[in-house]
């Protein structure tokens, strides 16, 4: 499944870059994120409780940051294990561009889901993913408007 989109964030590019690399900000902005730990400059471990309607599964994810080119672009690569619920893996290319009104963040992600979640939840994953992405950016907007 490919997920492509963009969003303008009302903040300067270097601040957006810093926020996207701050585990505390990520934890506050990712829906259902219980814990996020930074193992090294480029490695994160996250625990996320994903809710797909009646489904509630805890995923432990390992995420690495690649091709870092601050403050313009980077690549996120990750995989998550949800125990009996299944697994998810994917990558996302992210670019930040200075535009009028702030910073345009473009993402191009490729995600695969396997296991039981994929069997019973395939018809729901697209719309749930969109909801989580929108919630992330709404929270990020709120972070900047509260912090400025």
């Amino acid at each position: 499944m490919d997920i492509v989109g963009e969003r303008v964030i009302d903040a300067p590019r270097d601040r957006v870059w810093d926020a996207l690399n701050d585990p505390e900000v990520l934890k506050a902005c990712i829906m259902g994120c219980e814990e996020i730990e930074q193992d090294s400059e480029t490695e994160l471990r996250a625990t996320v409780v994903a809710k797909f309607g009646p489904v509630k599964a805890k995923f432990k994810a390992d995420i690495s940051l690649e091709d870092l080119n601050p403050p313009e672009s980077y690549r996120l690569v990750g995989q998550g294990q949800g125990g009996i619920a299944g697994f998810a893996k994917g990558g996302a290319a992210i670019t930040l561009e200075e535009v009028e009104g702030g910073t345009k963040l473009s993402y191009n992600a490729d995600m695969a889901i396997g296991g039981k979640l994929a069997q019973v939840g395939s018809r729901l994953i697209g719309s749930t993913t969109n909801k989580m992405i929108n919630a992330f950016f709404d929270a990020l907007d709120e972070h900047f408007s509260a912090g400025s």
Partner: protein
């Protein structure tokens, strides 16, 4: 399935207080979605609070110009009710087309709308008929109730008590069912109500929505031909192995016309 505590509540108040004392509890209505999910171990609540003993939540009554349906009333009861047939035949027809006989005999209106499955039928009736959802705390207008995929305005500890449907002048529901599950690939409720024509679409998007351009056209000329040339945008519509977003967008027009013709 993981072990869990089972509590049977005798009233709505008892159900709410029992849920409040559980660490990770869920209300159990008909269980047509929750129980299969638990069997797959995709949800593992520690407590289920069964609403089946709360008789106040069951039943169908007329209250002036409204038809009031208790949250724990099954689809089969709504489908077979003489009261519903005489007041809002479209609602009885919708209920008769949900799932299979087992789902209709166990599944409930409150459970269906609280779950807010994007392909469920009842959300189209609630929004299309401009119903009011009554909970243990407040009354919620249909347009405010459904928020997003599987998301409603309900708080975690809030229980649907009944749904109050204003009786429309005319209404009809048409759906293109998935042949296996009978879930709506697209379903459209069209109604002439006290505050104009309403067109509610389920199955097509992340959540039920109103087709306002269809409503405007039908407000001027209530006939299927008034919808000629109109369409909804395929942006953000659902896409899965059953239908693409563009196919669903086309179905919205087709089902809306059929519904108008059936009014």
């Amino acid at each position: 399935m993981e072990a869990f505590n089972y509590r049977k509540a005798g009233s709505a108040d008892e159900a709410v207080s029992t849920l409040a004392s559980a660490a990770d509890g869920k209300f159990l209505a008909g269980g047509m979605t929750l129980l299969p999910t638990m069997k797959q171990m995709l949800a593992t609540p520690d407590t289920l609070v069964d609403l089946g003993g709360a008789s106040e939540l069951v039943g169908i009554s007329r209250d002036g110009d409204n038809l009031v349906i208790g949250a724990m009333t099954t689809h089969a009861t709504v489908a077979g009710s003489a009261e519903v047939h005489s007041a809002i035949p479209a609602l009885a027809a919708l209920a008769s087309g949900i799932g299979d006989p087992m789902v209709r005999n166990r599944g409930t209106i409150g459970g269906s709308i609280a779950n807010a499955d994007p392909a469920a039928d009842y959300p189209a009736a609630v929004v299309g008929l401009n119903a009011t959802v009554n909970t243990n705390k407040r009354s919620i207008a249909a347009d405010e109730f459904f928020v997003d995929v599987f998301e409603t305005a309900l708080a975690d500890d809030e229980l649907v008590v009944s749904v109050s449907f204003p009786i429309p002048a005319k209404a009809a529901y048409q759906k293109f069912p998935n042949p296996a599950s009978r879930y709506a690939v697209v379903g459209v409720m069209v109604a002439q109500t006290g505050d104009g024509v309403r067109v509610a679409v389920t199955g097509a998007g992340p959540s039920v929505f109103r087709a306002s351009s269809f409503e405007d056209a039908l407000g001027g000329n209530f006939s299927a031909s008034a919808l000629d040339g109109l369409s909804v945008s395929a942006d953000n519509l659902n896409e899965d192995i059953h239908a693409s977003a563009a196919y669903r967008a086309n179905l919205v027009g087709v089902m809306a016309k059929r519904a108008v013709a059936a009014c």
